[in-house]
Each structure stands twice: as C-alpha cells, then as structure tokens.
C-alpha cells in the first residue's frame, strides 16, 4: 500500500512521466480491432507523379511509415499555422495575454 501511495504521489508530481504507461494499452486496441472482414485499400499510384506518387507509394508499401509521417506532419503544421494566425491576430491590437475572470 505504501509503495502504491509513493508511486501515485510520483505520478501526481510528474504526470508526464506516466504517459508512456498509456502505451501499454495499445495492444488492447489492436485486439479490439480483431474480427470481421479485413478490407485492404490500395492507392492507385499510377495516376500520379511527383509528391503524390511518392505519397501513394509510401501508403501502399508501409502503413507504419505512413502513420509516422502523418503524426509528425499534423502537429508541426498545426504549430506553424497556429503561429501564423497568432501573429496576424496580434496585429489587430487586442490583449492576447489575459482575460477577465468570471462565470456570469
């Protein structure tokens, strides 16, 4: 019990450190996906050239790499576009650092 309390306190102090443990739940997601007919989707890379051809080939060859590229591109692009929109918003001249407190 004491050990558990120490562990729980550690998690509370450094919650980020506990995040990798959430990865332990990933296999259950894979198990949950079992059953039913498996539909295989193939992208028609013959129709494209340039980056589209590269992208469709990557998709057909490795879903793992495809997933890795997706989860790198999305947050990076989000941060970049967010920073640009933030910059434009700051030009308006409003206070973007605080707000009035209050529920009603």
């Amino acid at each position: 019990m004491a050990r558990f309390t120490v562990l729980a306190r550690g998690v509370v102090r450094r919650p980020w450190a506990a995040l990798p443990f959430a990865a332990l739940l990933l296999p259950s997601a894979a198990l949950a996906a079992r059953g039913g007919a498996v539909m295989v989707w193939v992208a028609d890379s013959r129709r494209y050239s340039g980056w589209k051809a590269w992208w469709t080939n990557l998709y057909n060859e490795s879903h793992l790499l495809f997933a890795l590229v997706t989860i790198v591109v999305i947050p990076l692009l989000g941060l970049l576009l967010g920073a640009l929109a933030d910059f434009a918003m700051a030009r308006i001249g409003i206070n973007l650092k605080s707000r009035a407190q209050g529920e009603h």
């Binding site: 997601a29 992208w55 879903h63 590229v69 997706t70 929109a85 308006i92």
Partner: protein, 358 residues
C-alpha cells in the same frame, strides 16, 4: 471550374477543396470556443463532400489533433489550461476508451450495437442538455433574486454544485490543481475521465462533448479552464487516434492539411472569442449545440425505425447539423467582432499610463 476540385491521392476521390477549407474554419471556431474536437460535425460533413465513411473518420481525427493543438496553445496564453489535471485525466480517458471499444466488440457479437449506440447517445446528450439548462436557469434566478434584494450577484456562484460533494471524498492522494483552482482526491479526475472515456469509446466519438461538461459539473473547473483543459486532452488523444487510423490506412492527409489551414484561422477566432463571453454564456450555447445534436440523433433513430421515410429523416438530420454549425459559428464570429471593437474603442479612450510614451 475544375481547379476547385482536388484529387485525394489515397481515397482516390475528387473533392471540392474550398468545402474542406470552410468546414475546417467553421469547426475550428466552434472547437476553440467550446473545447471539443467536433467529430459529430466533421465526419458527416466530409461524408457529404464525397469521402468514404472510413476515411471521413480518420481524416477528421487527424485534423482534430492539429486544430486542438492550435487552440490549446492560445488558451494556455489566457491561463485556461490546467496541464496537471489534463495529464492525469489522459490516462483514465485512454483506459476508458479502450474498455468502451471492447464493449462495442461484445455488442457487435450479440448484434445489438446500432440500436444501443444510437439510443445511448440520444439519452446522454439529452441528459447533458437538461443539466446545462437547469444550471443556467438556477443561476439566472439567483442573480435576479440578488439584484432585487439590492445585492450584487456573485460572479462565481453556480446553479449546480455536484463537484462540492465529490470534493468531500478525500481518498489520498489529495492534490491541488492551481489553474483550475480546485483541491480534490486524484481519483476524482481519474474516475471521471475513465467514465467519460468509456462512454466515448462505446459511442464512437472523441469525447469532448461529454468531457467538457463533466469537467465543469463533476470536477469543478471554471468554464474557461474546462474548455482549455479539454482541448489539451483532445489534442493528445487526437494524435493517438490519428496514429491508429493512419496505421490502419484510413487517413487522407491532404484533406486534413487543407482543413487545418481553415481551422488555424477559425480556432484563433473561437479561442479569442471566449475572452469576450462569460462562462455561463459558453455553457448556454454549448447546451444548444448538445440539444441540436440530440435532435439530429432522434431524426436518425426515427429514420432507422421507419424505412419508408428514412431519406427524409436522414436529410433532416444532416441539414440540422449543418444549420447548427453555421448558426453557432456565425454567433461566435459576431461575439468576437463585437468584443474586438469594444476593446479597441476602450483602449482609444483610456488615458495612457504615467511614464508611458505618448
């Protein structure tokens, strides 16, 4: 006009790309304002634009992760994100979500998944809308009573205070969440996130629609902090979802990127608009969004039970969702513009501080 259409390389469909931009913009506004991913709006929208359903869900989740990240960063600057609370809840959400997915598999095996999910979703949304409207009505009545007796209304009082009872359960460790301004057992947010994650997993939704009111009514967060903290969770769980759907080959990154361009602008507007609206204003309009969602679900249920009129009720459900999204987005943009105008006007008439350059 062929330049208005783009071929999606993976799904192989031609899509009207300005539609993606507008959809991202609208959902960005609503998501940034209410603190949710908005899967209930985007998935049918993508489906209407021509995406197969499997790609619609994966693409929606991928764009949701990026959009929520933008809103989280902006909300954090306003001091609306409690990272400690969000991090603790994340574990509960993931565990609950996976348990929910297992329950869905079991329901599929016994062939009861469709009616159970639709009925459950409808009941849950109706209950949330009832709680919100009761809360708003009680608070307004209290404010009126205070004004009529010559007292100023308490700006921080609430109509429903379930969280106070829950905070009395002090199972160790008890922790303080500074940004949210609450002190409670760590097991409270863990339990709440597990249950909301479980419901989200069973109903096949992101969970913001359930988690945001739970953060307010069960955990006791102020509305703005509930919005910001929920978005933080949506951003992280959205990335997990994007990885999972991409690994299964069901994400169209090009569409997600186009939507993200619109969402970057929309999310800024929606988030900054929360600055000009008090917590109960956000709650009230969230209640309307949830109610519209419940009615749309009721239309779908009637359509499923009455096949002869299914086309009518399915169309009505889609039209209602689109009208709801447009109406809410217009309202939020209106509040944003009014707030900006008033703030700039106030800054013009305010005398410069002593020592400030003239």
């Amino acid at each position: 006009m062929s330049w208005l259409y783009a071929t999606m390389p993976i799904a192989g469909v031609e899509v009207f790309w300005p539609g993606l931009l507008i959809l991202g913009f609208g959902v960005g506004i609503i998501g940034g304002f209410f603190g949710m991913g908005g899967g209930w709006m985007v998935t049918p929208g993508l489906n209407i634009l021509g995406f197969p359903m499997a790609f619609a869900i994966g693409t929606d989740i991928a764009h949701m992760a990026g959009k929520s990240l933008i809103s989280t960063v902006r909300h954090a600057r306003f001091g609306n994100v409690d990272y400690r609370l969000g991090s603790i809840m994340m574990g509960g959400t993931v565990a609950g979500f996976e348990a929910g997915a297992q329950i869905v598999m079991w329901l599929e095996r016994i062939g009861r998944v469709e009616p159970f999910m639709r009925g459950g979703y409808f009941a849950l949304l109706s209950a949330i809308a009832c709680v919100i409207f009761t809360d708003v009505a009680r608070t307004r009545r209290r404010d009126r009573e205070a004004l009529s007796s010559g007292r100023p209304p308490d700006a921080l009082s609430r109509g429903i205070e379930w969280h106070k009872r829950l905070h009395r359960i002090r199972i160790p460790p008890v922790v303080e969440f500074k940004t949210a301004g609450i002190r409670c057992s760590v097991w409270l947010p863990v339990a709440v996130s597990f249950v909301t994650g479980l419901l989200a997993g069973i109903l096949g939704i992101g969970g913001g629609l359930i988690r945001m009111p739970s953060l307010i009514y069960l955990v006791g967060c102020p509305t703005h902090v509930a919005v910001g903290t929920d978005l933080f969770e949506v951003a992280v769980s959205g990335l997990y979802g994007a990885a999972s759907y991409s690994y299964k080959g069901r994400t169209e990154l090009l569409a997600a990127v186009i939507m993200l361009v619109g969402a970057a602008v929309g999310a800024q507007i929606g988030t900054v608009a929360t600055k000009y609206v008090q917590g109960y204003g956000i709650r009230l309009f969230f209640g309307f969004a949830v109610l519209g969602c419940a009615v749309s679900m009721a239309f779908k249920m009637i359509g499923a039970a009455w096949p002869a009129a299914a086309w009518f009720f399915d169309t009505a459900a889609t039209v209602l969702i689109l009208a709801l999204v447009s109406g809410l987005a217009l309202y939020i943009v209106g509040r944003f513009l009014r707030g900006v105008r008033e703030e700039l006007a106030a800054a013009r008439v305010r005398p410069p501080a002593q020592g400030a350059p003239r």
